[in-house]
Amino acid sequence: MTLIPVKTKARLLQGNEACVEGAIAAGCRFFAGYPITPSSEIAELMAEKLPRLGGKFIQMEDEIASMAAIIGASLTGVKSLTATSGPGFSLKQENLGYASYTEIPCVVVNVQRVGPSTGQPTAPAQGDMMQVRWGTHGDHPVIALYPSTVRETFELTVDAFNLSERFRTPVILLMDEVVGHMREKVELPAQEEILIVNRPGPTVPRGEYLPYDDTRGLVPPMAAFGEGYCFHVTGLAHNRRGYPTTKPQDIDALIRRIHQKIEVGRGDIVRVEQLLTEDAEIGVFAYGSTARSAARAVRLARSRGIKVGLLRPITIWPFPDEAVKTLASRVRRLIVAEMNLGQMAGEVTRAAEGRTAIEGVFRVDGELITPEEILKKIEEVV
């Protein structure tokens, strides 16, 4: 595999650009997508960079096809990416569920814009937090990460690929229009400093391969097409052999296992950032670009002598229940700031289990939540 040139010089990068750099560093060599603001730069840059590395880019006829194409490519052993925004993310849902159920690694980027429907194409929102969790039908696990800086976008894109390979599951990288379009000076790590995880391959002779064999672990080794394993994949309920089944015990075991593999891995998947929460009497919960305003609000409030701290989930799904619970048991009030009408506030309320009162600062008009708005709420609840 061709290595990307070592980069040590600081560069001015856009969030969407950092995502592309991260994907390439992680070993992504296939991209299929359909243009949509505010994610299009990712497709454009992949179209430019992938062929230089011998990788492939294709602009498909729609987002349904893009999602299908990256699953197909991944089945040949090639790490694959697609990127979109609200309307396109809606279209990807059926095949996203397919990837989850058939356990095919891939990464889907959703640079959020204001919905519902066409909404506001060029304005930021965080309205897809629940769609990411429950957008496709049926019980399925989800891993979703959400950076709030350009540098972190690079890192989390690499992590998204690593997690998808390790757990054989689609991973969603959430951004918002601000994270996707803002430019920051970043120094990217050299390729050799980046940890790369590749899916486990079969270790048994070809004739003995069971694609969904869970006897040696919750994540079965994955063959690639074209290697002689006669690998059969179906979105129907399937048994260890990968064949359709209607046996209740096989179906129950499969659906529970795909949840369990993520649940058992929770410790490695779930990450949060804490800012001044040790002695906090008031907590703020914010993520993505809103967390930037929240961090500023926390510092402003601290300068006014208010003991407030910020909990920023980096992993959105699985939800960081423990971190929320711990903070909730320490603070008098927990303020959730988000660019939606309380999607994560509901989760925070659930995880807090009544340990504290939850307050919200919500916006859905395509405008960023300002530090002042959050500060005002902090001062209100003191």
Partner: protein
């Protein structure tokens, strides 16, 4: 008689299959596997992709790499496989509803790209899996569960659609003419570019019984009696061709193939040209 070798491509442990008595899908699958055998391609490099429907169950009975995807989406999944790994041979098996209703957009775009994939449509002119609703191939005036007073829409001619969209090998066969389908599959697999075979199948359960053809045999006799070879059809007046199905190799042409074109993109990006 030569030894039967194509059976090795069957997952016999998966038998019996789900298809009804008299259904044409098994006949066409047999024809496909004979065609695969005749093509002498390396089976470990062949991937079969399908959507959802009775026909799309076919890869589940085949001992090759197989991908049973979502309804209508076999072609974009197959596109990902072929573009990522052009050295693999990719075949799509699809129903008429799967390919031309929900998957219609993917069909025309895959054909337009002239991507090197072979598509075989198991065309029974009805939605079999969901028990007999009309498809884009249901003939006018036919009865279907969702056309209880007779169907008012005009059906597609899938071959003309494929040609219009840019396919470079286009053929039609029937379950009755299974030997023809075998030869078409062999030619399609060897053809560089988008190859499409409209394989007319029969669904006595959900189409025949409602449309005065009670058995698979009756429906296959109708295939025999209405089929006209494309060469003979060329010499027949239009009025005589009404109600006939034209079989044979309908269109063969050469055009640049997608993955070869993309290799040129790679060469350009890497400064080799």
């Amino acid at each position: 008689m030569a030894a039967v070798t194509w059976h090795r491509h069957l997952r016999v442990e998966r038998m019996p299959q789900i298809w009804c008595a008299g259904c044409g899908h098994g006949t066409i699958l047999g024809a496909i596997l004979r065609g695969v055998e005749k093509s002498e391609i390396d089976p470990s490099k062949l991937v079969i992709v399908s959507g959802i429907g009775c026909s799309s169950r076919a890869p589940g009975y085949v001992a090759l790499d197989g991908l049973h995807t979502t309804h209508g989406r076999a072609l974009p999944f197959a596109t990902g496989i072929k573009v990522a790994r052009p050295d693999l041979t990719v075949m799509v098996i699809s129903g008429d509803g799967d390919l031309s209703a929900i998957g219609g957009n993917h069909f025309i775009h895959a054909a337009r790209r002239n991507l090197d994939i072979t598509v075989v449509c198991f065309n029974n002119s009805i939605y079999g899996m969901t028990s007999g609703q009309y498809s884009p191939l249901t003939p006018r005036d036919a009865m279907a569960t969702t056309a209880p007073y007779g169907h008012i829409e005009r059906p597609f001619d899938l071959c003309q659609l494929a040609i219009g969209a840019g396919a470079t090998y286009v053929a039609r066969g029937t379950a009755y003419h299974a030997g023809l389908v075998t030869n078409q599959v062999t030619r399609a697999l060897k053809h560089k570019g988008f190859a499409f075979i409209d394989a007319i199948s029969q669904c006595p359960t959900y189409y025949g019984r409602r449309n005065r053809m009670k058995t698979g045999v009756e429906m296959m006799k109708a295939q025999r009696d209405t089929a006209v070879n494309v060469k003979r059809a060329a010499k027949m007046p239009a009025e005589e061709l009404a109600g006939k199905i034209i079989i044979g190799d309908i269109h063969v042409s050469q055009a640049s193939e997608y993955t070869e074109e993309y290799q040129r993109v790679i060469d350009r990006a890497q400064g080799r040209t």
